[in-house]
Symmetry: C2
Subunit: 193 residues, 2 copies
DNA sequence: CTCCTAACGCGACTCGTGTTGCGTTAGAGT
DNA sequence: ACTCTAACGCAACACGAGTCGCGTTAGGAG
């Protein structure tokens, strides 16, 4: 039934999703067209229209695809170090002109399409669940109160960075990443999560 | 030169910006068209194309327009009460299906257009500057450390709510608003801002 | 090796968005 | 009251995104 990894369908999908990534980086979500994606992938546009239909579905599928790649959870020995590492990674991504456009495009897509919304929700749910390990470890070590909500601490760590990028439009750097992590940690230590 | 408030230009602008608001609410940013806006405003589409050109400029102008309306800063007597009030207002807006689409559309527009980005940046800069009053009052009362960054505390209060709406896609309610405010306050009291 | 089907390529078509040239009108200035 | 100009209305047009029908091909099954 379904083609194996070496089949034509799989090759087309790989080429198209790579093209989606490149188009989003260069033109952003609004400038990305099904036709341009098809051309870049070396595939006819009707093929893309039939299998995906719209740009937001392309983005959603690309996000699902990248979710298969594994992500390494930091383990510095302390929660503070781990949270700072996580926040720094986020800040670095948004500070890099080559990587920033893709997550931005995903947010835009998710705000306009249920299909992309699901993909984004799943992606962040998985990421948060993985990242929460640093919190559960800290609780076990006695660094944090026993009833601390692990995912909430992760959210609180990242939120100020995303807030700057998407709401206030201010730049983000590592100093802000550190401050966000420490602020979130202070709330956790106060037993507020 | 410029027409006075009662002139034809001003009437057209009012009608168009009202139509923009309605279209964004009903169809969202992606579904809003210059032509639909013009029809709803009872104006020919070329008029809108000439004065604004694109949807993002319409959104930007509408945002500039609403910025003229004054916003009441809460004053409950304590920083905690004030911050909770601010956070609750944000949460209520996003929880209300009738009000939520507009700020969402503004974020989408700002991610795709420099003109809308400027308008959004100015809007939030003004809002934050006004809201920061509750922090400076608190510092004067001795509730918070003297070097606390007022705007940063406001950002920290609101960030988790926006993070849920735009990134994780989780719902926001008043309980989360209160927790966000208290968490931000804990960081401020720890002298981390 | 042959068959069979799902997926792809191709070109023509539809349709909505945005543009242009020209005539018309509101309304400010005198 | 009259003029003069900026802004608006209108219709025809251009352009690109998305659709459709049909022919072609890759590649798995037997």
């Amino acid at each position: 039934m379904t083609s194996r990894p070496g089949g034509r369908s799989a090759r087309v999908r790989d080429a198209v999703l790579r093209a989606v990534h490149a188009e989003l980086t260069e033109r952003g979500y609004g400038g990305t067209t099904v036709e341009n994606v098809a051309d870049r992938a070396g595939v006819h546009k009707t093929t893309v229209y039939r299998r995906w239909g719209t740009v937001d579905v392309l983005v959603a599928d690309a996000l699902d695809h990248t979710r298969e790649a594994e992500w390494q959870v930091p383990d510095t020995g302390t929660v503070e170090g781990d949270l700072i590492a996580i926040a720094t990674e986020v800040a670095d991504t948004f500070a890099d002109p080559a990587r920033r456009p893709v997550p931005v495009a995903i947010v835009v897509a998710a705000l306009q399409s249920d299909r992309a919304l699901d993909a984004k929700r799943d992606f962040y749910a998985a990421r948060h669940a993985r990242a929460a390990e640093v919190v559960t470890r800290a609780v076990e070590r006695g660094e944090l109160p026993p009833h601390t909500d692990p995912v909430e601490l992760i959210r609180l760590t990242c939120a100020p960075l995303y807030y700057r990028v998407f709401i206030t439009g201010e730049p983000v750097d590592r100093a802000i990443a550190e401050r966000s992590a420490r602020a979130a940690l202070a709330a956790a230590r106060a037993g507020l999560l």
